[in-house]
């Protein structure tokens, strides 16, 4: 393997610094399953320095020779203290025991808490998947994305929706990575369930501010999800049966402690349950809806220095509307994501860790309608193939450098339509597939300037080019076609380059508190254009091109972080200001249409937006009672010259106040109680102010975009989980002696109640009219639709 000159330069620089020092490095793993632990804390009290493991569980510390106590901690695991006499470079792999296996009560560790004030991280949150599983969930479906919405600065897109908005940014501004592959549409069934099966997920981290240079392509947040690798010591299975779906995950070694696999599946059975009630003979026989997900992963440790991972996700939603009447139309609407990532970790030396990832993602949406006289089909999708290299260089205990590069080849199908009426086939030109290249290189350094000041500075250089073949229609002022401009294969239609500075800094006030500040700028080369006010699979991804400028996001944030009660309570206050340029929306009155005969961006209008706010966060990560309280005050506005007559208007996800409370109480090893409460300012809505009549029909006149507020949203959910007994009694038949043996088979029941006090939260509001204006019988009313009333659910889970 040859290094680029840049890398070599860094290496020699770092080596010069590191003379007479030795490196302690290795992996931190779960002792029971062999799973690498991401973000585990390594702390050396003697020098008050530490580090955290990377996404593969690797750490590296370069130190003066000497004897050190190495404290390792990870939430949900027992702490471990190891004394090391460092005389030469040394590999130290550390295994931590999960709490569940340790006999004593839950260990209280200060690891996460210390990270709160020590690191330069801002606006960052990790979810504990085990804790998420205890929280009440809609219809019992454990949902990682909906749990994220309980964090300050993260908002949901309305009732029951998994779509999320970070600090005033749209749902397309979140970079959602599943094992480093991009997931374009992270939800099932119109947003009610997310595509991530919690049983297959090891770690989930959200970065909503101070985004480091290693991430790019989206301006608002990064959601980094790591799938489990699979137990490399013994075979295990877990699963569950819920009201609407069942899950099963199996994992185990392929070659013990060298290679392992994980296979996880989930399928809903609404269609199976409703089938008996819709006999095939009925008018709608054959109609139904279901979704399924499959996650699979294998990994192989070639040597201490090399490790291979191959992981994939495949999910589909299928909605079928059939009709026994042969003259009536039938519909079929499949959509879904697929991702594959292949990764190779290589440790060049104790200080240099390389990860190479090849990724593939595919998102597609289809709609097919068929009837005797009429046929219609629509297809849209994205296909990405990418390659990425990331080097982590643990230069010294004060410097951690990361650099790397990324290339993605995008293929977009904006909307392809075929239609026929009678014997006439519509003359719809096939839109050219849009081909684009996206590339980035970055470098970042996290370093201690003084004992008090730590800085994470980075620079990312990105480029994007939309290339031919592409036909662009030349339109006159009336939007009528006058000609075509043809770009041949490989010819650049539009290209953009940008330097994206990223900076965050921490100033430690004392052992328990610090202040932090960050600045980051990013460019995003793809937009999501949405017709409706809710997230639908029909939303179309639109790449940047000559006429469609990339989104530019700039964020400033500052915060005060403080721990209380011996690091039991972590608190923070963050303020942010975010500026967004070149946002897109469909023009007022735009209609879904085929792209073949017009330019794919014809119906779009462009504008800007901003958001600012303050976020308060209090978290108790350990103890019998744990959870958090988050409160956000924020304002999110949009300014589009062609919308709302150019006047500023609130964004759809502008909520002035937003409060979340999440609590889990572990009564004992068998009983767990959990509750969540949310309150937020009502959603903005556009409603007519005036009416008039044309041909006797009532026409609505809208004045202010999002000028109305629905009633506030609030809801309480509760859940109780009962685990089976951890140990079983074994009576020796001959001696009569009673012993207790730990069960391998574990099962639990979770009873959850959604919307406990049955609040009719507004989902949307509309004005309706009935009757005839000509005879005075016209009636005009305002109506509010609410989705989920009080909804109990029960889920049975098992593992062995």
């Amino acid at each position: 393997m040859r290094f680029p000159a840049l890398v070599l330069a860094f290496l020699s620089f770092a080596l010069a610094l590191a003379q007479d020092r030795h490196t302690l490095s290795g992996y931190v793993k779960d002792a029971a399953s062999g799973e690498a632990l991401i973000g585990a804390g390594i702390y050396l009290p003697a020098i008050k320095k530490g580090t955290a493991t990377n996404a593969y569980g690797y750490y590296s510390l370069t130190l003066e020779p000497g004897t050190y106590t190495v404290n390792t901690s990870y939430l949900g695991y027992g702490d471990r203290s190891i004394t090391v006499e460092l005389k030469a470079d040394q590999v130290l792999n550390i295994e931590l025991q999960p709490d569940a296996i340790i006999a004593q009560e839950v260990t209280i560790t200060g690891k996460d808490a210390r990270k709160n004030t020590e690191s330069t991280d801002m606006g960052r949150a990790e979810l504990d998947v085990q804790q998420v599983k205890l929280l009440p969930a809609l219809l019992g479906e454990v949902d990682l994305l909906k749990t994220l919405q309980y964090l300050p600065g993260v908002k949901s897109n309305g009732e029951g929706n998994a779509g999320f908005y970070v600090r005033g940014g749209g749902p397309d501004q979140n970079l959602i990575l599943l094992d480093e592959a991009t997931v374009y549409n992270a939800s099932h069934l119109f947003g009610f369930f997310s595509v991530f099966n919690a049983d297959a997920v090891k770690n989930i981290e959200l970065i909503k501010g101070g985004i480091p240079a290693m991430y790019g392509g989206r301006i608002s947040s990064v959601l980094d999800i790591s799938m489990k690798e699979g137990n490399d010591k013994s075979f295990h299975a877990q699963g569950g049966i819920g009201l609407i779906s069942s899950r099963l995950t199996v994992e185990g070694p392929i070659v013990k402690e060298r290679a392992s696999f994980l296979l996880s599946g989930r399928r809903t059975y609404i269609d199976v349950i409703t089938k008996p009630f819709i006999p095939d003979s009925s008018a709608f026989g054959g109609s139904g809806y279901y979704f399924y997900d499959v996650n699979a992963k294998v990994n192989y440790r070639l040597s201490d220095k090399d490790r291979l991972y191959l992981s994939g996700y495949f999910g589909r939603d299928v909605f079928t509307f059939a009709n026994s009447d042969p003259d009536a139309p039938t519909f079929r609407i499949p959509w879904g994501n697929a991702t594959v990532s292949a990764r190779w970790n290589h440790v060049f030396g104790p200080k240099l860790f390389l990860n190479t990832t090849a990724t593939f993602s595919d998102y597609r949406f289809e709609f097919k309608a068929d009837q005797e006289f009429f046929a219609f089909s629509l297809f849209s999708g994205i296909k990405d193939v990418g390659l990425k290299m990331d080097l982590s260089h643990y230069a010294s205990v004060r410097h951690t450098l990361k650099y790397g590069g990324q290339y993605i080849h995008h293929t977009y199908t904006p909307s392809t339509v075929e239609a026929r009426t009678g014997t006439t086939d519509f003359d719809i030109l096939a839109p050219s597939l849009l081909i684009a290249h996206e590339g980035a290189v970055y470098v970042q350094d996290e370093f201690d300037l003084t004992d008090e000041v730590r800085i994470n500075a980075g620079l990312r250089f990105t480029g994007f080019a939309h290339v031919g073949p592409f036909d662009e229609f030349v339109l006159d002022e009336q939007g009528e076609r006058t000609g075509t401009r043809t770009f041949s294969g490989g010819e650049t239609v539009g290209s953009y380059f940008a330097l994206e500075p990223r900076l965050s800094a921490r100033y430690r006030l004392n052992e328990r508190s610090s202040v932090k500040a960050s600045f980051n700028r990013g460019q995003q080369y793809v937009h999501l254009a949405s017709f409706s006010s809710i997230a639908l699979p029909t939303d179309v991804w639109i790449p940047a091109s000559r006429e469609v400028k990339p989104l530019i996001g700039t964020q400033y944030a500052a915060g005060y972080f403080r721990n209380f009660l011996d690091n039991m309570l972590e608190t923070s206050v963050e303020v942010y200001y975010k500026d967004m340029r070149n946002l897109v929306e469909y023009a007022e009155g735009a209609e879904p249409q085929a792209n073949g005969n017009t330019n794919y961006y014809t119906q779009l209008v462009f504008g800007n937006g901003y958001s600012y706010g303050a976020e308060l966060f209090v978290k108790k990560a350990t103890g019998k009672l744990n959870g958090w309280v988050g409160y956000t005050w924020s304002k999110t506005m949009r300014i589009f010259p062609d919308i709302n007559e150019g006047r500023e208007f609130p964004s759809r996800w502008d909520r002035r106040h937003d409060l979340s409370v999440v609590a889990v109480y572990e009564l004992n090893k068998r009983w767990n109680f959990a509750g969540t409460f949310v309150y937020s300012t009502g959603q903005a809505a556009t409603l007519p102010v005036n009416r008039y009549f044309v041909e006797g029909n009532l026409v609505s006149e809208y004045t202010e975009r999002n000028g109305f507020r629905m009633a506030p949203y609030h809801r309480l959910d509760l859940a109780v989980t009962l685990n089976n007994k951890e140990q079983r009694k074994v009576k020796d038949k001959t001696t009569g002696e009673v012993t207790y043996r730990t069960r391998r088979w574990r099962s639990s029941w979770t009873l959850a109640v959604y919307n406990v006090y049955n609040r009719a939260n507004p989902y949307f509001i509309y004005f309706d009219n009935e009757g005839n204006v000509g005879d005075g019988s016209l009636q005009v009313v305002a109506k509010q639709v609410s989705l989920f009333s009080i909804l109990p659910s029960i889920t049975w889970n098992f593992k062995f």
């Binding site: 119109f190 809806y289 909605f319 509307f321 009447d325 042969p326 139309p329 519909f331 609407i333 309608a369 239609a419 009426t421 009678g422 006439t424 519509f426 003359d427 719809i428 009528e480 076609r481 017709f531 409706s532 006010s533 809710i534 007022e588 009155g589 735009a590 209609e591 556009t686 409603l687 007519p688 102010v689 005036n690 008039y692 009549f693 044309v694 041909e695 006797g696 609505s700 809208y702 004045t703 109305f708 989902y763 509001i765 509309y766 004005f767 009219n769 009757g771 005839n772 000509g774 005879d775 005075g776 016209l778 009636q779 009313v781 305002a782 109506k783 509010q784 609410s786 989920f788 009333s789």
Partner: protein
């Protein structure tokens, strides 16, 4: 149809699957100054007809007298074709005879009973020099209530219907319905692009009460189309029945019956008028639709709302026999 099918299905699915509930609420609507609304048309061989109303607060009273109060009287309405400029006369329904009311209803699309019950005034002329002609360009200027409204439209050539026929829905007889169907039509779109169409229908046969089934022409929902996808081609298309908003709710529907005598208008119009009718129908159809972003109707009236439309209809009549 295709635009509506998906949202309709999805919302049905939502409601079925999850038992959504709905309740009436009170919403405070801010008061704004009323705007003037024009519904003006001009056709070859016909005088211009202008109906002038105003907007009102969404939850304003809905009784007949408040509806009648929306019609603007004593406006100065001037139409010019470049050679002739004519100030239109105000005609109020209270002075019309029963026969004249029927004619007025036919010309305006307003309900004859409404014209008889409420004093509705509109603007027109008997000066043939300003009647519509193919290729004519017509300027409109209105002065009323301290406001000035202007617009321009043109009358484009009509496109003939090649053929027109009736087809039963239940083709194979499996549903035992041998009388309900749609009209089908064939037409050849002119070779030049940018043709815009609107379809209207009227059943001429009388009902049991002896009155015509449809007092006026009415447009079915989704009555507009353009040749973006079939420029210069022969096209077969389905025509469903238009229901006037004034018609008997029990007689609403999109189908015709065997034996109906149906007059069909294939109207050609310019882009601005087409944009108005299309966005107006969308505005009406998407009220209460969660899946669309609410949008105002696109008007070609400077200083007000509504439309000033040059229309050119090709008229054909068919007796529905499959």
């Amino acid at each position: 149809m295709t635009n509506r099918a998906l949202p309709l299905l999805l919302s049905t699915a939502l409601v079925l699957a999850l038992g959504a509930c709905e309740k009436e609420i009170t919403v405070d609507v801010p008061e704004t100054e009323p705007r003037l609304v024009v519904e003006g048309t001009i056709e070859p061989g016909e005088p211009p007809i202008i109906i002038l109303t105003r907007t009102q607060s969404f939850f304003a009273p809905t009784d007949l007298s408040s509806f009648a109060g929306l019609f603007v009287k004593n406006a100065v309405v001037i139409v010019s074709n470049g050679l002739v400029t004519d100030t239109l006369d105000m005609v109020c329904s209270s002075i019309l005879t029963e026969e004249q009311i029927l004619l007025a209803a036919e010309a305006t699309g307003l309900d004859p009973q409404l014209l008889a019950n409420v004093d509705i005034c509109l603007y027109s002329t008997t000066n043939p020099a300003i009647y519509g002609e193919e290729g004519g360009v017509y300027d409109l200027r209105i002065e009323a209530e301290g406001k000035t409204l202007t617009s321009t439209t043109r009358i484009v050539p009509a496109v003939p219907l090649d053929s027109l026929w009736f087809r039963l829905i239940d083709q194979d007889g499996s549903d035992g319905d041998d009388s309900t169907g749609f009209l089908w039509a064939r037409s050849i779109d002119p070779p030049a692009p940018n043709n815009f169409y609107r379809v209207m229908t009227r059943r001429l046969n009388t009902g049991d009460d002896g009155a015509a089934l449809d007092a006026t022409f009415a447009a079915p929902l989704g009555s507009t189309s353009n040749d973006q996808y079939f420029n210069g081609q022969a096209i077969e298309f389905i025509i469903s029945r238009g229901s006037s908003s004034f018609s008997d709710p029990e007689d609403r529907g999109s189908t015709f019956k065997r034996g109906d005598t149906v007059a069909v208008k294939l109207i050609s119009l310019d882009k601005a008028s087409y944009d108005f009718y299309r966005s107006y129908e969308n505005n009406v159809a998407t009220q209460g639709d969660l899946f669309t972003q609410p949008a105002n109707v696109r008007s070609n009236i400077e200083g007000g709302l509504g439309v000033w439309a040059g229309l050119h209809a090709y008229l054909d009549t068919l007796v529905c026999i499959p």
